[in-house]
Every structure is written in structure tokens, then in C-alpha cells.
């Protein structure tokens, strides 16, 4: 890999040990994926929840945080994905003091590196949406697929260590989606019925993701009659990335790189697969549970936008949750502050629901929370959450927000 003078100085350790490590890390990853050089990036976003960091990961961050200040501070704006703990509520969730203590150590180390603790996976809705053509090092699959697809920015999935390396150097290896040739469509889908609820958009993402099935496939979708909003795109993208590891999609006539089908593929050589009503029905049907007792209703993954918080407040107005059912609404610290100012938070909490901020359900020791609270049957409107939470011992059901709220009130899945 070709390095310029400044990058070589970093590699030689002239700018301190953290930047030396960062260049070394990027050289290894870049060589693995045939990157010719490093590309400057404008923002970094790091996933570093303590459940995945573990003790070893926290110690790694602490060693870096112990370096001299001029050596350890990140060089570009760098923000964080959700934490594993909401310190106001962790005891209520039956998370442990040991979890909270490890989380606090991670936060202290990240802050010492000059990282801004935004604790959000919806930064593209709330912090600083990237612009078309901007090269980034973003770390949450839902964040990356949204910024690539909807905004036309350029980012690979950057795991925590690689995001950190990008923050410390202002660069990332030029491979994958930083190259235009890897952004052309390789799979083509034609939708014959229109998604309505956010959960339908998530289902569409799940179907497309599962049929694409690889980081190196780029699906293009035709047949969407009117442009979806940001929350619809958010749910679709998060599910597509979750079901298929897919980092980029095109929506013909909607997303910026696909004004036409011809702009992203040669239609004559790429046959379209149809996605119709039966596919949606089969997708929802894989999650059973109708009529069963519901233990916990979760709105999370991705965190709720301000508009989703408003919808939830309206649905819960004047209602009380069933005594045997919990409802968790999870959002970013920025949205939570606005929701409180605007009265949405009070209306949600008056029902008995719990408003959690700066965390995300599945990154928060979901298995331990489930065991401690007796949560088994989980209802959500997030196709992404339904996909992954089974791995933590839950039995998930997917439905729209209205049905989720009605079920939380009834105590069983309606």
C-alpha cells in the first residue's frame, strides 16, 4: 500500500504510539482487501459497547487513553454508537453494577481520546448527516447502509478497531464501497406491492437482504411508487444489513446514485426477482406468537426518531400497559431531550412504559436482561431486532407499532 509522507511519519511512530498502531492496523486490513492507498475521511463513528468490547477491549482502549494527550486525540470528528447501559435505568432493567462499572471505564477511555459521546445509531437523522460523495469511517451496519444508500456517502462497515484507526489518522483503506466500481447493482428486485408500516419496510429490507446474502452484493429495487421517508429507509436499511450483511442498496428513482435503473446496472443482463404480497406474508409468518402472552415489547434497533416518539406517545395516550408486560422505547440522548421538552416522554412514561436513552436493546446484555426479567416472548416492529434477538434466547414476533402497543395493553399478542 502506498503511504504519503505524513502517513509514513505516523507509521514510524513519530506522531505517537496510537497513530502508529492505527496505520499498522489499516495496512493489514488494506492489504487483505487490495487497497492501493488510504483515503481521507471526514467523520468516524465507533461501535464500542462493553458487551462486545469485553474486559480485553476496554483495557485496549485504556492503554490508548493513557498515552500523552497530543498523541491520543482523534484528528477528525468522531462519535459513538449506543452504549450498553442507560445509567438512570440499569437497575430497573436488572443489569448489574459490574456491567455499569465496565461501561464507565469504556466511556472514560473514549472521552480521553476526544471522542464525542453521542451514543446513537441514528446520527444521520440527528447529528450530522453526511453528503453525497463524502468518504466516512462509520461503524454500525444500519448507519453505514443508510449513509451509503440514501445519502450517497462512501463507507465500509468499520468495526470498532478500524473506526478508531480512522479517527486517529483521518484516513481509511481505500477498498470496497470507497470505489465506484463496487457500487454497481449486482442483484435486481421488483416489488409488486407497496409497504405500508415501518415493519413492512423492515420486512422488505429483510427479504432483499436474505436473498442478497453477502457484503459484496448490491441490490437495486424497482417498483416503489412513492418515495419513502427517513424512518422507512432506516428500517429497510437496518434489516437489509442485518439479514444479508448488505452495505448498500439502490431504490430506482429515489436514492441518489439510481435516478434510473440504467444508472446502476445493465438491465438486459440482470434479471429481476419479484417480491410480492406472498413474500411479505411469509416473512411475517415465520414469527409466530399470535394470541400468546407477551413479556416485553421493544422499540429499538434502530433507535427511535423524534417522529416515532410522537407516534408512540399518541398510541399510548391515556392507556396503561398490562401488568405482566413491559414496554421499552429506546432512543438517542438528543431525541430523548427533545421528547422530554415536547411532552412526548411524559405521555409515554405515564402508560408505565420505560424510556431508555443512549443504548440499544440488543447491545445491552440482552441475554442477561431476558433471564433476569423473565422475558421470553418479545414483540417489536423492528425486523432487524426480530432477526437477531433469537440468538439471545428470546422468541420474537414482528408486527407494526399499532399492534405492538395494543398487545402491550392487552398482555397478549393481538
Amino acid at each position: 500500500m502506498k503511504l504519503n509522507d505524513e502517513e509514513q511519519a505516523m507509521q514510524n511512530g513519530e506522531l505517537g504510539e496510537p497513530r502508529r498502531w492505527a496505520i499498522e492496523h489499516m495496512m493489514q486490513v488494506g492489504r487483505f482487501f487490495d487497497a492501493p492507498d488510504l483515503v481521507p475521511v471526514t467523520q468516524a463513528h465507533i461501535m464500542a459497547d462493553t458487551e462486545s468490547l469485553g474486559e480485553a477491549g476496554v483495557e485496549f482502549l485504556e492503554r490508548m487513553a493513557a498515552c500523552p494527550e497530543r498523541e491520543r486525540r482523534v484528528r477528525i470528528p468522531m462519535i459513538t454508537d449506543p452504549r450498553g447501559i442507560d445509567f438512570c435505568h440499569y437497575r430497573r432493567l436488572r443489569q448489574t453494577d459490574a456491567m455499569a462499572a465496565l461501561e464507565q471505564r469504556a466511556i472514560d477511555a473514549l472521552e480521553a481520546l476526544g471522542i464525542i459521546m453521542t451514543n446513537t445509531c441514528i446520527n444521520y437523522q440527528t447529528i450530522m448527516p453526511p453528503v453525497r460523495g463524502e468518504h466516512l469511517a462509520f461503524g454500525d451496519t444500519g448507519v453505514v447502509i443508510y449513509c451509503n444508500s440514501v445519502l450517497g456517502a462512501y463507507s465500509n462497515f468499520e468495526g470498532g478497531p478500524s473506526s478508531l484507526a480512522a479517527g486517529l489518522t483521518g484516513r481509511t483503506p481505500r477498498y470496497g464501497l470507497h470505489l465506484d466500481r463496487n457500487r454497481r447493482a449486482t442483484k435486481r428486485f421488483r416489488v409488486t406491492c407497496q409497504p405500508q408500516y415501518l415493519s413492512d419496510w423492515g420486512a422488505l429490507g429483510g427479504i432483499v437482504g436474505a436473498r442478497s446474502g453477502s457484503y459484496w452484493e448490491v441490490p437495486v429495487i424497482e417498483g416503489i411508487e412513492s418515495p419513502p421517508g427517513s424512518d422507512e429507509m432506516k428500517h429497510m436499511g437496518a434489516a437489509m444489513a442485518s439479514f444479508g450483511s448488505v452495505p448498500l442498496f439502490h431504490l430506482v428513482g429515489v436514492t441518489p446514485e439510481a435516478p434510473t435503473l440504467e444508472a446502476v446496472c445493465e438491465p438486459a443482463t440482470l434479471a429481476a426477482e419479484t417480491i410480492g404480497e406472498a413474500d411479505f406474508e411469509a416473512f411475517f409468518a415465520r414469527y409466530g406468537g399470535k394470541g400468546e402472552k407477551v413479556d416485553v415489547v421493544v422499540f429499538s434497533a434502530p433507535q427511535l426518531s423524534l417522529l416515532e416518539m410522537q407516534s408512540l406517545a399518541e398510541l399510548l395516550d391515556g392507556k396503561q400497559l398490562h401488568q405482566d408486560t413491559d414496554l421499552l422505547a429506546v432512543t438517542s440522548p438528543a431525541v430523548a431531550a427533545d421528547a422530554r421538552r415536547l411532552g412526548f416522554a411524559d405521555r409515554i412514561e405515564a402508560s408505565g412504559a420505560l424510556l431508555l436513552e443512549g443504548m440499544c436493546f440488543y447491545q445491552s446484555y440482552a441475554r442477561e436482561m431476558g433471564e433476569a426479567n423473565g422475558w421470553k416472548r418479545l414483540l417489536t416492529n423492528s425486523a432487524k431486532l426480530a432477526n437477531i434477538i433469537g440468538g439471545y434466547g428470546y422468541e420474537p414476533t414482528l408486527s407494526n407499532m399499532e399492534n405492538c402497543v395494543a398487545s402491550a395493553i392487552a398482555g397478549e399478542i393481538v
Binding site: V29, R31, F32, M47, G54, A56, G159, G160
Partner: protein
């Protein structure tokens, strides 16, 4: 004793030798493993119940989100980890994770499906720097 050489893309991590454990299934560090006991725990996984500790693992591809990048590092630091992981095709996240953990990892084999080329129980040497995997069979 016969030695078979397999060419692959240049990988990451140190040269290692060990016994192969092979499946045509995929791999997620987050969802497939009991990382305390060092075994495959997801019941649907084709290696469910088997230990991966000290093995040269061979899979089709990697699954799972960004969090996996930290997990190989945590596994290796506790000594409950495979020696190397080989794939037909890996995603960036797990390659990044192997780089952090200094764990041997290679993919893109020249001779086709690596899950058919290597058999469980084979003695295998992985040379990531050279993009080379050597199998020794009786």
C-alpha cells in the same frame, strides 16, 4: 505422508499450525458461540456442541454485525479461541477483528471451495503472509 498446498489471498496474523475443524456452514462470533466454554452453542449450527479452541476453523463465509470486530480480540486474550479461521469469502468486519486480535485469517482460495478442500482432522499450516495453506495427510 502427503502435503497439499493451497493458494489463497494474502491474509492477516501469524503463521500457525493445528488440527482442522471444517464445515460448509457460516460463522458469527456473536451468535454461534458460547465464548466462555469455547464451543459452538447455536443449536442450528452444524458444529453445535463442538469445541473450537486451538483449532484451524474452516467456514464458508462470515455473518454478524460490527460488534464482531472486538470479539476475536476478547476471545484470544482469554485463551479460548481458534488458532486460525479460513473462509471462502470473509466480510470486512471479521478481517478487521483478526487484524486487531493478531489471529491468522485467510480467504479466496484459488482451487475452489475451501470447505471441501480441507477435511476435519487434517493437520494444517497457515501462512497468511504468503497466502498459503499446507495440508498434511497420512
Amino acid at each position: 505422508m502427503a502435503t497439499i498446498k493451497l493458494k489463497c489471498h494474502v491474509g492477516v496474523g501469524p503463521e500457525v499450525s493445528g488440527e482442522a475443524l471444517v464445515t460448509d456452514d457460516n460463522f458469527s462470533a456473536r451468535y454461534d458461540l458460547d465464548r466462555d466454554r469455547g464451543i459452538f452453542s447455536r443449536p442450528q449450527h452444524k458444529l453445535a456442541g463442538q469445541s473450537y479452541v486451538g483449532k484451524i476453523m474452516v467456514f464458508n463465509t462470515a455473518k454478524g454485525g460490527v460488534a464482531s470486530a472486538w470479539m476475536l480480540h476478547q476471545m484470544k486474550s482469554r485463551g479460548i479461541a481458534p488458532k486460525a479461521i479460513l473462509f471462502n469469502s470473509v466480510n470486512p468486519i471479521l478481517a478487521q477483528g483478526a487484524a486487531l486480535a493478531d489471529m491468522a485469517m485467510c480467504d479466496r482460495f484459488a482451487d475452489g471451495d475451501v470447505t471441501g478442500l480441507i477435511r476435519s482432522g487434517d493437520q494444517v499450516t497457515v501462512k497468511p503472509e504468503q497466502g498459503l495453506v499446507m495440508i498434511t495427510r497420512d
